[in-house]
């Protein structure tokens, strides 16, 4: 006679964590699609930003002062480059604010008692948010490009920008996760966020390609995660090449691995801190 004692079937921990992360990703994606007016507002913001930036670069290109770097500008100016980098920047979800809220207002502790990994779920949810925004803003960008009458890059450039842009946005989410975890020590993450934002401007080449910097600064900037976040994708919009695409892809995967490890270390340190001192 078979035993009637019930047995507990334990789900493998990794598979369970991944399933939870996938659900959180889908939640983030769906939430953005349901809140489509907010997504439309984000697209409008992108178009306003691009109007200003394209006006700036068009003014620089039109002036074409001799003896300046204006001679190095591509024929269509840097509007396409900025279009790609702004697409990534405005798509990245503000995970740092959600982490700050949970940490500051005590919503974290009950989450830690649950069997699912809190931080992985938060990151997955932010990636879902980011994915929806990437699609929405890309549609707005392509429409604006078609209506502007600007010369479009070759079709392969769109593929390169899309692949490197998605990975760049993932790096952006990981960087903002690190900013959010600062709340364990600083309570408010605005200062580290603003510093990281400006590092994205300068080392990431949000505004202008880092290739225009002096060689020493270019190499220094290229060695930061900010270049993998923005420059690698943006550069494909003005100078597409299979070789730089492949190298960029490798660099981005390396940064995703490094940042993930760093986040795990900081998270463990933070947990040790709250177990010792409380929040």
């Amino acid at each position: 006679m078979p035993s009637t004692v019930p047995t507990i079937r334990t789900e493998p921990r990794l598979a369970g964590a991944l399933a939870a992360a996938l659900s959180a990703f889908a939640l983030g994606l769906r939430r953005n699609l349901v809140n489509w007016p907010v997504l439309m507002g984000r697209c409008l913001f992108y178009l306003v930003v691009m109007t200003i930036i394209s006006a700036l670069w068009d003014a620089v290109a039109a002036q074409h002062l001799p003896g300046t770097m204006a001679a190095l500008l591509p024929p269509g100016g840097l509007t396409l480059y900025a279009g790609a980098t702004e697409w990534i920047t405005l798509s990245v979800a503000s995970i740092h604010l959600r982490l700050e809220d949970d940490i500051r207002f005590g919503a974290l502790e009950p989450q830690l008692l649950r069997p699912k990994p809190y931080l992985l779920q938060k990151i997955a949810e932010a990636l879902g948010d980011t994915a929806a925004r990437l699609v929405g803003i890309a549609a707005a960008a392509l429409l604006a490009l078609a209506l502007s009458g600007r010369i479009a890059p070759p079709p392969i450039a769109f593929v390169y920008v899309a692949v490197l842009g998605v990975l760049g946005a993932a790096i952006g989410v990981l960087l903002l996760t690190l900013v959010g975890l600062c709340a364990f020590w600083l309570r408010r993450v605005l200062p580290p966020y603003l510093i990281m934002q400006k590092a994205m401007f300068i080392f990431g080449g949000l505004f202008a390609p880092i290739g225009y910097y002096p060689p020493w600064l270019y190499h220094a900037a290229l060695a930061t995660p900010f270049a993998a976040n923005l420059f690698l994708a943006g550069n494909q919009a003005i100078a597409p090449s299979a070789a730089s695409f492949g190298a960029g892809l490798l660099l981005q995967f390396a940064w995703i691995a490094v940042l993930s490890c760093l986040i795990a270390l900081v998270w463990r340190a933070a947990l040790r801190k709250i177990l010792r001192e409380g929040l």
Partner: protein
């Protein structure tokens, strides 16, 4: 006690509250200074490469950024309630103010003092003194430019926030519009032509917040002074009218809830 004295007392309390957690206050202020330094470095690098944009050079942009930082700093320190005013309206938090005899708008503006704004203010003053190529004789003119610009900036933010009396979605929209105005105010004025120039001098009045004051400081004249003073008065009057029309709806219970 006059409305202005009540406002001053409220602001003093708000500033003291923002100073209470000194470590946090310092972190936020210094963080903003570092942020502003990065911004300056960015433009420095831009002008190192391209020298001028439509007649604007680094000193002009430094003047513009210095003015803008002072304006945002003053607005944040002394009128910090502007930042979350739409949310305050939608949450019904002005109910308590309606039972009191003093002006609601000034009390709403004095509800909060933003710690990061001190960083902006310090950096703005340093930038004006170091990079904007201004003489000490220009000090009264700089003060006039900052006062007029800050008036237009806060007035516009009040108009955007007043949309909350009509629309529930105004909470984030008002912030977005304020951020758009800030964005327009941090690029050289010479890049705006046609439709963008129209927007910069009407809906998102970066033109009157900072670009017209820059023109006034570079070529002071009665005409340019009159332009910024009249703009400040018109925007302030428009803000007062929009807010009080909305407040009338609020008293009648016609306001959407957030």
């Amino acid at each position: 006690m006059s409305a202005v004295a009540t406002y001053a007392a409220n602001v003093a309390v708000a500033i003291r509250t923002s100073l209470m957690d000194r470590t946090n206050f310092l972190l936020q202020s210094v963080g903003m200074i570092v942020n502003d330094v990065f911004f300056l470095v960015l433009w420095y690098m831009f002008f190192a490469g391209f020298r001028r944009v439509g007649g604007w050079g680094l000193s002009d942009v430094a003047l513009m950024l210095g003015l803008m930082m002072c304006i945002v700093g003053i607005a944040g320190v002394f009128f910090g309630g502007y930042r979350d005013m739409a949310a305050t309206i939608l949450r019904g938090e002005i109910d308590a103010l309606l039972t009191q005899p003093k002006g609601v708008l000034l009390r709403l503006l004095a509800r909060e003092s933003i710690a990061t704004a001190w960083g902006d203010l310090a950096m703005g003053l340093w930038m004006l003194a170091s990079f904007a190529q201004l003489s000490w004789r220009a000090l009264p003119l700089v003060a006039a430019g900052i006062v007029c610009g800050a008036t237009v900036y806060v007035a516009s933010a009040v108009v955007y926030a007043s949309l909350a009396f009509w629309f529930a979605g105004a909470r984030s929209f008002a912030r977005d519009l304020t951020d758009f105005m800030l964005l327009f105010s941090t690029y050289p004025g010479s890049i705006y032509t046609g439709a963008t120039k129209f927007v910069a001098f009407t809906l998102l009045p970066a033109g009157f917040v900072v670009l017209a004051p820059v023109t006034f400081l570079r070529a002071p004249s009665l005409r340019t002074l009159a332009t910024i003073v009249v703009a400040a008065l018109v925007y302030a009057a428009f803000a007062a009218i929009a807010f009080h029309l909305g407040l009338r709806r609020y008293r009648q219970g016609k306001v959407p809830t957030g």
